[in-house]
C-alpha cells in the first residue's frame, strides 16, 4: 500500500531534501515506523522518548485532521496523502 507523505521543512534534511516521499503503511503509527526505516532519525523528531507521537504535531489524511477520524489508528488506503503539520500552525485569531 503506497502512501504519499508531505514532509515539513525541518525534516527535509533527513529525507535528502525531498518534500514528498512514499511509504508503505496501514495506519498513522505504521507510517511513522516506516518513515523511520527509510529515513533514520525521523521518529525521534516526531515522537517523544516513549515512542509516542508528540501531542503538538498534527496529521492530516487527504486534508482531513486525523482527530476528526480515528486518530493514530486512522486507516490508510493506497494513494492516500498524508501531511505532517506542527500544531502551532493552528489558529490565532
Amino acid at each position: 500500500m503506497s502512501i504519499k507523505v508531505r514532509i515539513p521543512a525541518p525534516l527535509q534534511k533527513l529525507t535528502q531534501n525531498k518534500v514528498e516521499v512514499e511509504v508503505e503503511a496501514g495506519n498513522i503509527n505504521e507510517l511513522v515506523d516506516d518513515l523511520e526505516k527509510r529515513f533514520p532519525g525521523v521518529k525521534a523528531r516526531i515522537c517523544d522518548e516513549n515512542g509516542k507521537i508528540r501531542r503538538f504535531i498534527n496529521f492530516y489524511v487527504n486534508n482531513e485532521d486525523i482527530r476528526f477520524l480515528k486518530g493514530y489508528d486512522t486507516e490508510l488506503k493506497n494513494n492516500d496523502e498524508v501531511s505532517i503539520i506542527p500544531a502551532i500552525a493552528g489558529g490565532s485569531e
Binding site: R55, F56, P86, A87, A89, S92, E93
Partner: protein, 417 residues
C-alpha cells in the same frame, strides 16, 4: 537596548537566536521569547513605568524589540473600569472591566499584538505584512500597515460580519475573502507564508506578536495599584491571550513589581466552538478540534494553536471554563451595555455570560476581586443584536404625539439576569 536573550522551544527547551522562527526545528514545539530578567530588574521599577507616556510601550523592556518601538505608539493603557452596576446585578463586591473595546486605533486588543509585530517586522526588513484573521486582527493589521506605509495582505473567512470587513477595507489593504472557515484560512496562510517572503504576523512573526498581549495583563496589575486580582475571565479563540496574561503577572511578580500572584484564570468560548472549554471540563490535555458554529465569530477557531497551553494555564491556576450559547451571548452584550455603558462585540458577550455562570456555580466567590476582559467593540458586530433591541419610538413633530407614544413604552426592565 534589547533585553531579549533569544528564542526558546516551549517543549524541548532548545535555544535559538532571535531570528524569524516559529516552530522548533527539532521537535516542532512552539517558540517563545526569552528575556534577561536580571538586566530588566535593574531598570524597570514602578516609578520608572509611572513616569512614562500612557501607552503599552511603557513596559517596553518586557517586549521583544531590539530597537525603539516604531508602531502602535498610541496603543494601550485602556480604561480599567470599576464596575458598580454590573457588580450589583451579579452580587459581587469588587468587579472591574478591562476595556479594550476602546483601544487605539482599531477598537480591539489586537492593536497590542500588531504594534509589536509591525515594529519587529520592520526590524527584520519586511516591506509587506500579512495575517489570517477572524476580523479584529485584520482591522488592526490594515490600519497599522497604512500608518507605517507597508503593503498589507489580509486573509479572512468569507462569512465575516459586515462591520469587520468594512473596518479592514477602509484602510485599502489587499483583502482576500476565503471561501472556508478560519481554520481553513489559516492552513492556506501557512502554505502562503512558506512561499512568499512576507511578515505573517500570526505565523512567522508569531513568537514576537504574541508577546504584545502581555501588556493587557501588565495594565490590569498597574491599574489595580500594583497588585494581581484574584480572578480574571478571558475569552479564548486560539488560546494565546490567557497564557500571556499569566506570563505578564508572573513577570511582574518575578521583577518585584507586584507583591504576590495567586490569580485564578478562567476561559470563555461560544458553545458552538469550545474545544478549550471541553478539554478543561473533561480534564483531557488533548484538544479535540471542532467545526465552529457560533455567533461569536471572532472566537470561532476550531483548532486552537495554543489550546493545550491555555488548558494548562487554567488548570494550574485553579480556574475553570464555560461556554455560552448564542442567546446567552446576546443577553450578556445587552447587560454590559445597560449596566456599564460599554458596547462590546460577541466575544465580550461570551466573557460576561461565562462570568455569570462562574458566579452562579460559586466557582468565583462574591467577595474577591474579579476582572472581566473585554477585548472588542460592539459597533463591529451590530447585526447580532440589531433585531433584539427595543425599537425607537416613531412620532410626529408635536408634543401631543410624543406624549401619546411615550405612554406605550414601559420603563426598561434593566439589570435582571
Amino acid at each position: 537596548m534589547s533585553y531579549v536573550k533569544g528564542l526558546k522551544c516551549r517543549e524541548c527547551g532548545r535555544e535559538y537566536p532571535a531570528n524569524i522562527l516559529f516552530v522548533c526545528e527539532y521537535c516542532f514545539g512552539s517558540i517563545e521569547v526569552a528575556y534577561d530578567y536580571d538586566k530588566i530588574k535593574k531598570v524597570l521599577t514602578r516609578q520608572e513605568i509611572e513616569k512614562r507616556p500612557k501607552n503599552m510601550w511603557r513596559y517596553k523592556e518586557l517586549l521583544p524589540l531590539s530597537k525603539e518601538p516604531s508602531d502602535g505608539l498610541t496603543t494601550g493603557f485602556t480604561p480599567l473600569v470599576r464596575s458598580h452596576n454590573l457588580a450589583k446585578v451579579l452580587g459581587v463586591k469588587e468587579l472591574y472591566i478591562k476595556d479594550d473595546s476602546v483601544n487605539h486605533p482599531t477598537l480591539s486588543f489586537k492593536d497590542r499584538v500588531v504594534a509589536v509585530a509591525l515594529s519587529k517586522a520592520k526590524e527584520f526588513g519586511f516591506r509587506t505584512v500579512a495575517c489570517a484573521s477572524t476580523g479584529n486582527l485584520a482591522n488592526s493589521v490594515a490600519a497599522n500597515a497604512a500608518i507605517a506605509g507597508l503593503r498589507a495582505f489580509i486573509f479572512i473567512p468569507a462569512d465575516l460580519e459586515q462591520g469587520k470587513i468594512i473596518a479592514s477595507s477602509i484602510y485599502n489593504p489587499v483583502l482576500v475573502k476565503v471561501e472556508g472557515n478560519y481554520d481553513e484560512v489559516n492552513r492556506l496562510c501557512s502554505e502562503i507564508a512558506a512561499k512568499y517572503k512576507w511578515a505573517f504576523v500570526n505565523i512567522n512573526i508569531r513568537p514576537y506578536y504574541a508577546e504584545g498581549s502581555k501588556t493587557y495583563g501588565f495594565e490590569i496589575a498597574e491599574q489595580l495599584g500594583w497588585r494581581a486580582p484574584k480572578h480574571i475571565i478571558v475569552p479564548a479563540a486560539g488560546g494565546s491571550l490567557v497564557t500571556k496574561i499569566k506570563k505578564s503577572l508572573q513577570e511582574f511578580y518575578q521583577l518585584g513589581l507586584i507583591p504576590e500572584f495567586k490569580t485564578k484564570l478562567y476561559v470563555a468560548q461560544g458553545e458552538g466552538c469550545a474545544p478549550i472549554v471541553t478539554a478543561i471540563k473533561e480534564d483531557n490535555e488533548i484538544i479535540k478540534p471542532v467545526k465552529p458554529k457560533t455567533i461569536a465569530k471572532s472566537l470561532a477557531i476550531g483548532n486552537p494553536a495554543d489550546g493545550f497551553y491555555a488548558y494548562d494555564v487554567v488548570k494550574k491556576s485553579g480556574g475553570w471554563a464555560e461556554a455560552a450559547s448564542d442567546d446567552e451571548i446576546i443577553n450578556a452584550i445587552k447587560l454590559l451595555a445597560e449596566t456599564e455603558g460599554i458596547f462590546t462585540e460577541t466575544a465580550g458577550g461570551v466573557t460576561v455570560a461565562a462570568t455569570i455562570k462562574f458566579i452562579k456555580e460559586k466557582r468565583i466567590p462574591k467577595d474577591e476581586s474579579i476582572v472581566i476582559c473585554i477585548t472588542g467593540n460592539g459597533l463591529k458586530t451590530q447585526e447580532v443584536v440589531a433585531d433584539k433591541l427595543a425599537k425607537p419610538l416613531k412620532i410626529k413633530p408635536s408634543l401631543g404625539s410624543f406624549e401619546e407614544e411615550q405612554k406605550k413604552r414601559p420603563t426598561a426592565d434593566h439589570y435582571s439576569i
